[in-house]
């Protein structure tokens, strides 16, 4: 065993977050670490990387007991973490970034030697063609992630921990990351891979450890467990169907929404599509395909958008959030902390924030009515009404996203619901709840349009799929005609293998 953690326990105050957890990984092994949010994954990682002390248990490296008291200790032992928030300096070159903060570099050094070692590390992660003087900020996120891995390799990291590296990547970039991981595995590195995407566990990992409520509940080779088994280990119960069944009766065919020649400079080059009331239409495409920008433009969030947007035959002006909302458009963002949720306001305030007009008489608010409705909305999206005064920052990502759904219910007629990656960073249990919510909005007559780069989600959920590539529509296909192969070919414009 290259790395072996045994009997790790940890308390935060009175709360036990890890209980007798053991995890080991061999050289040349990729081990997935799965679990719902709050299961203890990040605490375990913090302990292994020296960011938190363990209360009990021991960690051995190559069979020798290791004392890891600080991140510097971990680095000396060859343990490296690539977290979701990259720690690169976007304005510096690839070379500078690779050596940034490396304490083994003497003040007086030969740049040539550093360049050679950086080159070797980049080659190892599959970035052979990347120039060392390229500014890191000009690279896609996927390649930035690989640069970060290369940086760890120059620090002689033998044990790599990757925390949801693919959460914000497109499929082609994910393929690159996987290729790099397989190569590192072949060279004898040990890799711990944290992910919410269960497909990846089976695609790239050799073994999987599952945490639930701070305890280890599963440890198996990926060949010895199936998807359903993995999910029930994570949840402690059967999930049932992750994706709710589509509506039995087909939607009434009335086009609720129609878009003509929608354009956003440099991103979207004139797209046309329509979507029906009561059905869920997915805009599928990689990052850079324009799906996100197209969706945001329809919400009035892009000041440079042009084109024609009609709902129920009536024209909706672009470039104004207020007027889009007046026409019945509602938006759910993937960026909850940035623009989706008021983290420091309470659940009640978050639920009512878009609909104060309902409670306002001559500018004055009717507080009691607000309280009642907030309770109803919380119940409608399965957030405990007793928690109305809890601050949103204290909720899990899934519950925060439910607030975003709750605030849409505002007594108006069903309109158009636009969602951008609504389940990003949401764990599988809450994800199923969100999918059911989305389906319920459809059944109530909403026209739902969702942008997604997660093809599995698109396959499972959509009634209709519109694929985009570099700002143009490739195809619009119905549920029956959707195949994974076809989707992948559409959004990458390459013949899928």
């Amino acid at each position: 065993m290259l790395l072996s953690a045994r009997g790790i326990g940890k308390h935060y105050g009175p709360v036990e977050v890890l209980r007798d957890v053991s995890l080991s990984v061999r050289a040349g092994e990729i081990r997935a670490l799965c679990g719902e949010n709050g299961a203890g994954k990040s605490t375990l990682v913090k302990i292994i990387t020296g960011n938190q002390p363990a209360d009990s248990g021991e960690i051995t490296i190559d069979g020798v007991v290791a004392t890891i008291r600080s991140p510097a200790d971990a680095q000396k032992l060859g343990i490296a973490l690539v977290s979701q928030e990259l720690s690169l300096a976007p304005n510096l070159s690839v070379l500078d970034n690779i050596w940034l903060g490396n304490e083994t570099v003497p003040l007086w050094h030969r740049r040539r030697a550093l360049a050679e070692r950086a080159r070797a590390a980049l080659d190892e992660v599959g970035l052979e063609g990347l120039r060392l003087d390229r500014q890191v900020g000009t690279l896609g996120i996927g390649r930035q992630q690989l640069v970060e891995v290369a940086r760890m390799l120059t620090r002689d990291a033998r044990i790599l921990i990757l925390d949801e590296p693919t959460a914000t990547l497109s499929d082609v970039e994910i393929a690159h990351v996987f290729e790099a991981l397989r190569r590192l595995r072949a060279r004898g590195h040990a890799i711990i891979y944290i992910t919410h995407r269960l497909g990846e566990v089976f695609e790239v990992c050799d073994s999987v450890s599952v945490l639930r409520n701070g305890a280890l509940v599963g440890d198996a080779a990926t060949g010895a467990i199936d998807r359903a088994g993995l999910i029930s280990a994570m949840l402690g119960r059967e999930l049932g169907e992750l994706y709710p069944p589509p509506r039995a009766a087909p939607a009434d065919g009335r086009p609720a929404l129609s878009v003509r020649a929608l354009a956003v400079p440099d991103m979207v080059h004139g797209i046309d599509f329509s979507a029906r009331a009561g059905s869920l239409t997915c805009l599928a495409g990689q990052i850079g395909s324009g799906v996100t920008e197209a969706l945001r433009a329809l919400c009035g969030l892009n000041e440079a958008a042009t084109g024609e947007f009609t709902i129920g035959g009536r024209r909706v002006p672009l470039r104004s959030v207020g007027r889009a909302r007046a026409a019945g458009v509602r938006f759910i963002s993937e960026n909850r902390a940035g623009e989706g949720i008021f983290l420091r306001l309470t659940i009640a305030e978050n639920l009512l924030c878009g609909q104060l007009r309902r409670f306002s008489r001559g500018g004055l608010l009717r507080r009691r009515a607000m309280r009642t409705i907030a309770g109803e909305l919380a119940a409608a999206v399965a957030v405990r009404p007793a928690r109305l005064d809890v601050v949103a920052a204290d909720l899990s990502g899934g519950n925060q996203q439910k607030l975003a759904f709750g605030r849409i219910i505002d007594g108006a007629m069903p309109g158009v619901l636009l969602m951008n990656e609504p389940t990003r960073g949401v764990d599988v249990g809450a994800r199923a709840e969100i999918y059911r919510l989305v389906r319920r909005f459809c059944d109530e007559g909403w026209c739902v349009v969702m942008a997604s780069s997660d093809l599995e989600e698109v396959m499972g959920l959509a009634d209709e799929v519109i694929t985009l590539y570099r700002g143009r529509v490739v195809r619009q296909v119905g549920r029956a005609a959707v195949t994974m192969h076809g989707l992948l070919a559409d959004i990458t414009q390459q013949q899928a293998a």
Binding site: G13, G322, C353, G354, R357, G363, L365
Partner: protein, 313 residues
Amino acid sequence: MTGALLRVTRAASPALLLRGGGGGALLIWALLTPGFLSRLSLLSMLSAISFVGCVTVGMGFITISGNIMSLALGATVSAASVVFMASLGAGLVPAVLIALLFGAAITAAQGVVVGYFRANAILVSIAALTLILGIAAHLTGGERIYPGGDGFAFFKGRIWMLPFETWLFAGCALAGQAILSFTRIGRDIIMTGSNREAARTVGVDVPIAVIAAYAIAGATSALAGILLAARYGSGDMDIGGGYEYRAIAAVLVGGIAIRGGAGSVLRGCAGVVVITVIEMVLRLRGYGEEWQYLITGLVLLGVVMAQSEGTRR
């Protein structure tokens, strides 16, 4: 035993402990100061609280809207005192309205730049401060402005024992709190301060909310200017000097979150009381002005540090 103690201290945020402990200590210290409870010092404190308090109510709106502070509010107080005195010839009520509108307008103009153009609020307020001082120097020639009419004598009187300005300040504070708690524009201001992008996506007109916060700040500052001019019988460009600093100090001591989106006007008013009491106690105990600055600065520093600790994750 120690565990329980730890849990208690953890449950109460350091800022709260500091506030509770500091407030209690200050109260005891004040009551032990000879002359603190005298009629003269109480009345003079009430007046000081009222003048700074009006500006604090406005500053609170700017802070809550997510724009930290405006350095131009002190100059706005002064300019409003001048405008009020100069327009008294038109009658008392028109003069009051003109001065209030004047304050609201020049401060709302800062709100336009901050709200629509997303300019840095502090830098905009520095520019505004310079403009106000420059234009006023040109127009007044640096002279003190004496009333162009009278009828404001009752401003200097008392109603039910309390100075006239205290009543107006109380009204101003309650009205400000009511706007924040009970009106749509108030909630819009809080949402904008809490998360500007999220406010935009749920359809809040963010620039309007920012402008409203600034306009209110201008109006309450102008109110302070009117009250000061009436009390001193003249208006000049030095009358409100330093009020912006005392107001932001009160906002911080009262515990309005400097990052915006949280807090209340009344907390700012509590901050004014604390600061004024500290100043009065120091004066009664014979400390010079340099000590007043020093102590106020230290209190402020402590509060800012406590706030940073409370929000660290």
